[in-house]
Symmetry: C2
Subunit: 311 residues, 2 copies
């Protein structure tokens, strides 16, 4: 039975259909049962731990929520990775080579399949991008890039509300960046590349270099500008290789006071007037922005992913 | 009358329909009348010069070719830029801010509109990517990146045979690259960024630095490796931000003996084993390749662009 026929039989409008939404993060899952119009009916946090503990808790939550509110028409999952997000792949929804114990080979369909509803799985950043596109700072953008700078760095790019991918999801955190070892002797923490963007600018790099977060340090402008300079390399690469209508930067590091303005300045300096477009004027103020949904972008995106499966 | 109805009236199969194809380069245009199956019926070179000389020559060529072979069902144009390639834009097919005298504001529709056939306009690199995808080294790739390193540097990316774009076409030539001024004191020739990728690695940078092309210099391995290292920055960025199934590198500079193998080596070193996918094994030999169509990629792509307009 397709979602459309089920809806007809139940006499529900599309907005009234129920979506099971999962924002799957490295330390916790946020799970929700929501109506397709976005109204959240039930919500819970589940520790990520291992699939052996997490998956039964997921099944229990959705089982109880569905018993209370009705059958689930579709699931939307916005997940940490690396994970197979190609709907045409036999491994769709399966974690691939994550170092997180127990998660390699775990598949969302194994726990959600019992509900008999279609399952849409995408990355956490693609989900956040979708949430911001539908209800936040990315509304009206045909091409939108959402980047998180937190424990790691990642970017999701949408075109007309659909996330882009190649043979896998993007891995923007590992782009090479110029690293002046005199100005910044920190070697970087990436186990593969040492001083790639993530190795120099993610949260662990900041704590590894200075012992505290930028906010705890009082957001000193020289340190904020150093990190902004690294992140600007990604901003410039995103402009030149995707030409998005807007760049949203979220994640814990980006909450540092002054970091977004410093990122605008560093990005503008590197673009050096080469790209002329109304989107970029004036001073990238409307071009490089923080998330409009704050910490709700992920679960909003997961609900939106589920909505994509409704007929 | 749509191409489909015209075809029915003329009793032609789709493969027999006629396509007007234009590969518009900075010094010359290659124009062809071809059947949709790719058979070229007439072909000519026209100097780019200015639209005042070039456009009448285009009209004359297609007028004569059409008189000899039949009505033109669609036009495909693969052009130098910057040019508006957004079919939804009122300026679709119009050159924007090119420094080439006379070309800013020129529009392909102004000269081709008289033939009453649909016109598909894309960039030269997107056209070459499409040609390689249909008949060359990119066959079977869901995501394909075609980069030219010649007078300039540019990249077209296809997903399922459609070129990607944001608010404009991509501008991969201007990505920032680490530049060790001790090892390479050349300042770069880009008027905007000096030592961006194009400023350090395109043909004019090579001649500006060493007085001759790499091939003329006898392809010395240290110089080949220096240029390969810069181009590898783009290869790595394309992998991380597009995850293509294959990277094709064409253009005059890439014909340097030994450059493609050096590019594979430099790219593999920078990726450092982080991306694991069968496409990349072994040693990027099937991943980073030269064009399969040689200098015919552009006009083959233009024909393929025209074919996209056939109903």
């Amino acid at each position: 039975m397709t979602p459309a026929t089920r809806r007809q039989e139940d006499g529900l409008t599309m907005a009234e259909q129920l979506i099971g939404a999962i924002e799957a993060g490295g330390t916790k899952f946020v799970v929700a049962l929501a109506r397709a119009d976005g109204t959240v009916l039930a919500r819970e946090r589940i520790p990520t731990e291992t699939p052996a503990t997490c998956f039964p808790a997921l099944a229990a939550f959705f089982g109880q929520a569905s018993a209370a509110h009705g059958p689930i028409a579709a699931f939307g999952v916005a997940s940490f990775g690396p994970i197979d997000i190609d709907p045409a792949s036999p491994g769709y929804g399966t974690f691939t080579t994550t170092p997180k114990p127990g998660w390699s080979g775990a598949r969302f369909h194994d726990v959600l399949g019992r509900f008999g509803a279609p399952i849409v799985v995408d990355t956490d950043v693609n989900g956040a991008a979708l949430g911001e596109w539908q209800a936040g700072a990315g509304q009206g953008c045909r091409t939108l890039a959402y980047t998180t700078v937190g424990t790691g760095v990642g970017t999701g790019v949408l075109r007309d509300g659909k996330s882009l991918m190649g043979f896998s999801h993007f891995e923007s955190g590992h782009i090479p960046v110029p690293h002046d070892r005199t100005a910044d002797p920190y070697a970087g923490f990436c186990p593969y590349h040492h001083d790639c963007l993530e190795g120099l600018a993610a949260g662990p790099a900041i704590k590894g270099r200075w012992g505290q977060s930028l906010s705890e340090l009082g957001s000193p402008s020289d340190k904020v500008e150093l990190i902004a300079g690294y992140v600007a390399q990604l901003a410039v690469s995103l402009v030149l290789l995707h030409m998005p209508d807007r760049l949203i930067f979220g994640g814990g590091v980006m909450k540092t006071p002054g970091l977004i303005p410093a990122l605008r300045k560093a990005t503008e300096a590197r673009l050096a007037g080469y790209i002329k477009a109304p989107q970029l004027d004036p001073g990238l103020e409307r071009y490089i922005v923080g998330p409009g949904l704050g910490d709700d972008a992920g679960i909003t995106g997961a609900i939106a992913l589920g909505r994509q499966a409704l007929g």
